[in-house]
Amino acid sequence: MLRLPKFDVARPSTVSEAVALLAEGGPSAMIVAGGTDLLPNLKHELFAPDVLVSLAGIPELAGVREDADGWITIGAMTSLADLAAHPLLARKAPALAQAAGVVAGPQLRSMGTLGGNVMLDTRCQWYNQTYFWRQALGFCLKKDGTLCHVVAGGKKCVAAASNDTAPALMTLSAVLEIEGPEGRRTLPVDEFWVADGIWNKKLEPGEILVGVRLPPGRAGHRGAYGKLRDRGSIDFPLLGVAARLDLEPDGTVADADLVVTALAARPLRIQKARALLAGTRVGTPEHDRAVVEVGEKAHAQCHPLENVPGDADYRREMVPVLVRRTLAAAARGEGPVHPL
């Protein structure tokens, strides 16, 4: 069995204590939530923290609540299994509930948290390997090396955002609540991810993701998540698609959004989706044509790389298929689209 490195674990009971511990530990401190991403990465010697600050004992980080103003607040430590099974989310944020329900497998969803999935390290076949393997390779741009093995001569890391909840949160216009030494701040999730596989998040050192807030949706909100992977469980996405359709009572699309992930370092919004779908009525040939066209635009906009395991050409070929099926599932109030 691979060995975990030695580290201390700190167990704060409040967020401010956690922030203080992080400040004290500096670069050698890391946050651990469910540990389902971090611990394998530690075994692969991708990080070597002296101290892990566990968020497991902070009561305010757990749970889902609907506020009086209609916003939904989800604590960062809410487990993915709880999110997937939450009746309020199934109604108001189906894409998120569905995405949470297809992360990894059942055991990992019980340990894994929303905060952990948002903060998931980017993934790459040349990076998520043991020290021995990476050493035999001569390491890579993301860790310990200078060469990118995905893009010959590449200077920027293209490890893939592989968190299923990320595109769902983007379609929901979620706002992240972040606490750091300077206090609490909020950040629209759209502004959170950046196109850098080494660190693809706008989270400053010492900051903690406290929770996620979802604005009140429209009455006719529909959403779905579609996931491509080889098996019916466990695997990270080879491709993920989150869709939102806000429908008028007669089924006309008032607003729409579509975000694709597992391609590059950040999730990608399909820019033309809203304009093409808005005004079409679900169930009409016009809407169906718009869906096909959105799939084509997505295909043109998406260029999967050989970053995650799997054939990049095939993943690209699946973009329009997954887009069409996910939009169709959203329109019908169904999903997730998985297995494909």
Binding site: R3, G105, Q129, A136, R231, G232, I234, P309, Y314
Partner: protein, 794 residues
Amino acid sequence: MAARDLHGPGAPWGEGAPGDRRNRDFRVIGKPHRKVDGLAKATGAAVYADDIALPGMLHAKTLRSPHAHAKIVSIDASRALALPGVHAVITGKDMPIPYGVIPWTPDEHALALHKVRFIGDEVAAVAAVDEDTANAALKLIRVEYEPLRAHLDPFESLSATEARIHEDTKGPGNVSKHVALSFGDVDREIGAADVRIEDEYFFHGTTHTPIEPHCAVAQYSGEGLLTVWSATQITHYVQRALASVLGVPIAKIRVVQPALGGAFGGKSDPFSLEFCVAKLAMLTGRPVKMLWTREEVFYAHRGRHPMHMRYRTGARKDGRITGVDAKILIDGGAYSSFGLVTAYYAGQLLTGPYDFPSYRFDSTRVFTNKPPCGPKRGHGSVQPRFAFEVQLDQIAEKLGMDPIEIRRKNFQGENTTTVNGQRITSNGFKTCLDEVERASGWKERRGKLPRGRGLGVAGSMYISGTNYPVYPNPLPQAGIQIAIERSGRVTVFTGGNDIGQGSNSVVAYLVAEELGVEVGDVRVVAADTDLVPVDLGAYSSRVTFMVGNATIDACRKLRAQIVEAVAGAWKVDAARVRLVPGRAIDLGDEKRAVPIAEAFRIAEERFDTLGSTGSYNTPTLGGDYRGGTIGASPAYSFTAHVVEVSVDEETGRITCERCWIAHDCGRALNPMLVAGQMEGSAYMGLAEALLENHDVNRFGLHAGPSLLDYRIPTSVDTPELHALIVESVDPEGPYGAKEAGEGPLHPSIPAISNAVFDAVGIRLKHLPFTPGKVLAALREQRAAVRAPSGGVPR
């Protein structure tokens, strides 16, 4: 009864043989008993190699090569040795004697001596107070390498003239073994056929993925006794290899196999870690353990050989095959392992269940700088079976014949000899075809389902052990000792390796049946070379057949004594005394019976302490030509599968919906275990076809040495599996039993390809059947339809 008397027409389980009726009135056999170790495994009480912890035990780790092919210029371990907590560091020079599981090809070293041959090859080993210290020490060992050109492509390696992988390879290129055999006039027979199909097929690499990684613990006593506990399926060969490499007399070596968490052929070579823990224990005077990581298990490999196969088959208008011509290139990886046998099996095991009037094969195994291939469940024959069963469907298509019908047409029958001289006794293949045809609704559904859904069939045969021991010797292949105690408890000593297939349970059932005790009163002592007679190990599906026969042999000697003693006490004819679970009864007087313990006491009083031995050896078998005994088995199992698939033409994904598995196991000694083997085999085959791929990337690095990246199906990816047991009652198997653990894997893979053809009209000939390949084939199909000469898909 001497073991050899079991053979021939008068063999005890044949139709009409003496005692026939008595042999069929079973009290234990044929019933769904629990495995004897089932509860211990389910509750966590079972002791696996890694559960062993001895006082003062050190932990060892292996330094591996980061180069696919390189000379070792120097190794400097001084900094590692200086690290506090490190007790010893060893390198190839400490164990320079080469070994190999096949005595003719000893090309491995416990640790690389002068060069490394793949990324992951073992270079040095460290023993330290704990695993972390040992790992830290590995990083302090300095190895200077001189990289050599790496041969990753088998075609390139075949003709390579520089940077030989093994310097002593004969002839040009990196050829590991070449076999060419021809039976009958193949060119004339195929030339005279009404239809001919010639095509190329590719079977990729796959590996065993047992859930338990390899682990070994060694202890060296002051008296010079070396004990090695190892997760192995071949205690006897490990014992021999340790003696040879370490220079320790074999009688001073004890090898013990603890509870085992799966093997599938992946633990049937002697491995580096066994030598290393032994050597380190001898050097340090402390017990030493080494547990491999999952990544290291992938490097150890010995999995399915990739094979590039060209087949040419001719058939008459009525579907009868006239000849088969095969040329196979086998990608062997860095070492020989069982490769000599693989090169033979690739050709020798195809000559059933169909009658080939003529047959030729030419198979070449070539070394490459990749993890070494070896025997995986269905060793050597799963790949050719895939190619041939797809080709047979292509012939049926060309002739407009039903795929099951063409298989019936070519059925070789019972009690026959194959074109390559193998003796076939019992053969239930036709019943297997009938069963899958009936259960799957084949006649009503095949060719008639909506596009996107289809049924496919395939057949196969496999050996129940082989009469070729890994090292030639005239001694029994399996031995058994039994000790009876007056409490009614029976202890059986067997060298058989229970690797999860249930061989210890089978021994217990047979003893219970023969000696009139409950299964729970039989203790099985297994796979401990200090305690048990020699058995060659769990490979080639030999254990139930050979150990089973040896067990019955030993039981019959004891039973005769017990029956004679009880009959004497009752003053009745011995024929009236019958042993049933828990009692000895008088068939002539239903009121007269004694508890079995009392029967044992009566026998002990009469004959003194009760015990017996039994053994099994194969009859003389095989064709009269070089290699003719390789693949010769005392009995062959037969299998037919029908698989139902759905194909998503947008995504290219194949979903295996259902699989019907009909398997002729001779007799199901425990139908629950047989069904488990059938389902497990089919599951493994389907996984190989659709998901798994054991390969290296452009650097020669394993493409994904983890259970995340090497994808075996989860429970939600597993189809409905229907096990249909067929019992042909083999004349020489124990109560008529044959193997069930490997045969039922074979047809699942070609049956999927054939079902995909039924579903969407494309022929998948290159494994694995990834969605990308399916989409490419569908695109070709559409292009062919648009072209004027193209056929129209259903």
